[in-house]
Amino acid sequence: MGSTEGFVALVLVIVAIIVVAKLVRIVPQGYEWTVEHFGRYTRTLSPGLHFLVPFVYTIGRKMNMMEQVLDVPSQDVITKDNAVVRVDGVVFYQVLDAAKAAYEVANLEQAALALIMTNIRTVLGSMDLDESLSQRDAINAKLLTVVDEATHPWGVKVNRIEIKDIAPPRDLVDSMARQMKAEREKRAQILEAEGMRQSAILKADGEKQSAILAADGKKEAAFREAEARIRLAEAEAQATKLVSDAIASGDVNALNYFVANKYVEALKEMANSPNQKMLMLPMEATGILGSLAGIAELAKESFGQQQEKIAARRTPPSIG
């Protein structure tokens, strides 16, 4: 009797524990649980504590409402210009409507992945290789538009799709590198040729300038020389004129003085010349002496005149 009672009590306790476990439901933050009433969806439990009538209401699906990252496995895609590239990516999505995500689609992750992979093929297939390598943003935007629209009935919001890597095959990469190198080399060569051309032009220009300047210099010099000669001639003419004037108005002895001067100077030079093997004397030494006599005459004349002047100055005024 006692043991039966004890057994019943034990069963009661165990049942109570199970019932309480079914009754009290705690949904952790970041999740939402769907509630089914004999298999039919009725409502969604938000995070926190809930009391559910046990056995009548059961928990259906436990949906993760946090943003999730899905790796898109890499796949071979053929571009518009028939290049085969390996493409992989990541997707960020978030369940916004737990009930739809739980019941509208059987396997959410698989469905989303299939959708994204086919759309990657579609988008890349409509671009050529260069475009697909340089326009990631455009690809991402296109993918997002299509996939977001498609996942809408599942209560899922695709926040972003990013293409991680677009890898062309090895040989294509090599030829791309070669193309790049050739491009650079071409540029370098063009620049070099341009430099040479410029330098040649500059050199020719320099030569032309210098020739012009030299000619200018010569011309200027010639002008000046001519002018100098004219001046010299004028001076000589003037000198000659002065001398001839002096001769005309004065004495021939003045001329003799100059000539004598020159004679003496010439003699001095001859005497000083380094090869003194001979001393040339003028044919008429007497000429020189004659010129000296001329100088004496001149001196006498001038002295005589001066003395007369002095004498005239010294004569006292006569007292008449």
Binding site: A9, A16, I17, V24, Q29, L96, D148, H152
Partner: protein
């Protein structure tokens, strides 16, 4: 073995074990049962000579009562003034009141708006591209908007 131990001690041991389990692995329902067990221990202390079945029934009732007391009396008080951001994990509700620009005209009540660097489906009165809209409410993945 248990015959030598007083019944209320037994219940308290059970209560401690249950609460200990609750602390170790938070499932949160063991706590109410533990409280029920502790209360049953008190009951057997003050009302000696209860039969084992009666004690078990009392335990079950008290366990449910503790649940009910928490759920309908204590919980509303606890949650006053210390509710966290209810919009956590609800991306759509965080956008309510925000103003966004349409990147696709609303026709037949459906269009698209740019939100951050992404886009959201919007529903509202027909509007041309580029007009600004304000989010009124959210319905799953669709924002209900009105023209500004």
């Amino acid at each position: 073995m248990f015959a030598s131990v007083a019944a209320h001690y037994l219940w308290w041991i059970v209560a401690l074990v249950l609460i200990g389990i609750e602390v170790a692995m938070p499932g949160f329902f063991m706590l109410w049962i533990g409280i029920g067990a502790a209360a049953t221990g008190l009951l057997t202390l003050f009302v000696p000579g209860l039969s084992l079945l009666a004690q078990a029934i009392a335990f079950v009732v008290l366990a449910f009562v503790s649940c009910a007391v928490y759920g309908y009396v204590l919980r509303p008080r606890f949650q006053q003034g210390q509710v966290g951001d209810g919009r956590l994990n609800r991306r759509g509700e965080q956008l309510i009141g925000g103003r966004y620009v349409l990147i696709e005209a609303i026709s037949n009540g459906r269009g698209k708006a740019r939100v951050g660097d992404g886009q959201w489906l919007v529903s509202g009165p027909d509007l041309p591209v580029g007009s600004t809209v304000e989010v009124v409410s959210v319905d799953g993945t669709t924002l209900n908007v009105r023209p500004v």
